[in-house]
Amino acid sequence: MEKKSNRVLSAIESVCYKFRYLFLILYVALMVIVPFLDIKLVHAQVIILIGVYAMLGMGLNVLIGYTGLVSLGHAGFYAIGAYTCALLETKLGVNFWLALVASGVLTAFIGFLLGLPSLRLSGSYLSIVTLGFCEIVTMILKQWESVTNGNYGVRNIKQPVFFGIKLDMYNGGLIVLMLVLCLIVGVASLAIRNSNAGRAFRAIKDDELAANMMGIHVSRYKIMSFVISAFITGIAGGFYCVTRNYIEPGSFNFDVSILILSVVIIGGLGTIRGMVFGAAILQLFPQVFRFLDEWRYVVYGLLLIVMMRFRPQGLLGWQSTQPYHLSKKTKQILEADGGTSEPLEAAGKTEGGSEQ
């Protein structure tokens, strides 16, 4: 059963891969069309949440999917990103774009600090530390009333303005912004994965000792992966705050951490497509099954259990069958040897791109 589903997915993948530029064009076209579509407010909110969680998933994916460090406290980073942006905007009147970047940078710095204990801790111990971190962040947000307004949260967050055009829910501007951010984060995630640092991340995940013997400064890369992950999560948080009128500490509790983790696990660890898909499923499910009332969470839980039984690698986490792109150098060597010059058809690492 598994094999058959994999074959179907692989077929879809090869089609997607073949037409990847077409998909990119369609994606860009979608951004242009969105403002002219009459999207209802309820729908717009769900669409935006899917985008936010896709980004959160991609952020956590850098940590779990690439480097193999499990964080249970990403809601903490999410909260820091959201509050930084919201407070800079409302209290200091900072321009949204600047505040968004600041959210990413500050969260990345906190990520650096949280990455430090990861040098000494591993496995579940690190997860517990991140769990504590998330609790501390929500506690600070609740208690530090002079800055964060405590439980009242931050109100009247202004919508971003882009060259005089106000981006909001009604004109689809926020959806366009979401699409742009998702594209950037997705492409960046892929680029990181296939960079030298990305290979080092994955080597650490596979075998820390062997990675060390290759000359990889394991601790440095673990921290770097924390920083990148926190940066992406912070950006997602900064964007999230402007899609709401107000934010409060309760929106960033432990459940949110678990939801982000679920996006990563259900979508498919290590992939970008999986993050988008996982976010879509987890956000749509409660909406679509609204008629089940309170039973929907029971069904939801059952579905998760069934899914983990039959697709433990995540819905879209199959082994890619696309040809792996050899580097120019290797190709030259192989060709000089009179060996096979056509790309080898084998399980490789290419991903279907970041299109939705």
């Binding site: 400064h217 792996y324 290797t330 192989l334 040897d337 096979t340 690492k349």
Partner: protein, 234 residues
């Protein structure tokens, strides 16, 4: 020359290495044989900085590298192919090799190393784009050795290259080790398969419960009654 003098290593209260001394001269294959728990891997781990050395010295061409950080060892020109073929299963063969060249900056040198590894192991060339986890045991061992050659080391440390391989593959791996040595590589070989190890090495050390009990010419040691009885099954 890789020189170890009077090395002592502790695991908590356990005295794992009790004053081990050995030398590996340039261009030779030196093997370290011994039974399980004799301290063979501990010796390698001490050289590469994975375990802390309590006392003693590790010198490389006269330079003291005792307790150097293990990610820096490779920059000193020592490359370790760890026990149990620890390749990166999720990375492709090419990416694994690329990781081996991680500390190298010179592109031409990396390309040469790729070429050299593919020459030595044509099998890897056929599998460049395959994830290493899908290779057979023998191929993974080839990859592990190939990967450790990618950093252009002067000294190659091999930890149990024959482990878990079929006899014909063991033969093949050992003849490749000889081939690599002929190309000018100095090799320190840790083996349980004493027969094979003594047949390719020029000198050997026998390790027993953390001490060097015998050492000398490999061919002579292979004739030694004590070695025959304990390790060669004669």
């Amino acid at each position: 020359m890789l020189k170890i003098t009077d090395l002592n290593v502790f695991y908590g209260p356990i005295h794992a290495l009790k004053g081990v001394s050995l030398e590996v001269n340039n261009g030779e294959i030196v093997t370290l044989i011994g039974s399980n728990g004799a301290g063979k891997s501990t010796t390698l781990n001490a050289i590469t900085g994975i375990v802390k050395v309590a006392s003693g010295k590790v010198e490389l061409d006269g330079q003291d590298i005792t307790n150097a950080a293990s990610h820096k060892i490779v920059q000193h020109g020592i490359s370790l192919s760890p026990e149990g073929r620890e390749v990166f299963p999720g990375l492709t063969v090419e990416e694994n090799l690329r990781m081996g060249a991680y500390t190298r900056q010179n592109k031409q040198e990396i390309a040469q190393n790729f070429e050299r590894v593919y020459d030595l192991f044509p099998r890897l060339k056929e599998r460049v784009s395959q994830p290493a986890g899908t290779l057979s045991g023998g191929e993974q061992q080839m990859l592990a050795i190939g990967r450790s050659l990618m950093s252009s080391p002067k000294y190659l440390l091999l930890d149990e290259p024959s482990m878990g391989l079929a006899p014909n593959l063991v033969q093949m791996i050992f003849s490749l080790i000889e081939e690599i040595n002929k190309q000018g590589m100095t090799i320190l070989l840790i083996e349980q398969n004493a027969n094979m190890a003594l047949s390719v090495a020029s000198r050997a050390y026998v390790l027993e419960t953390g001490r060097v009990s015998l050492s000398g010419d490999a061919a002579q040691l292979a004739q030694d009654e004590r070695v025959k009885k304990a390790y060669l099954g004669a």
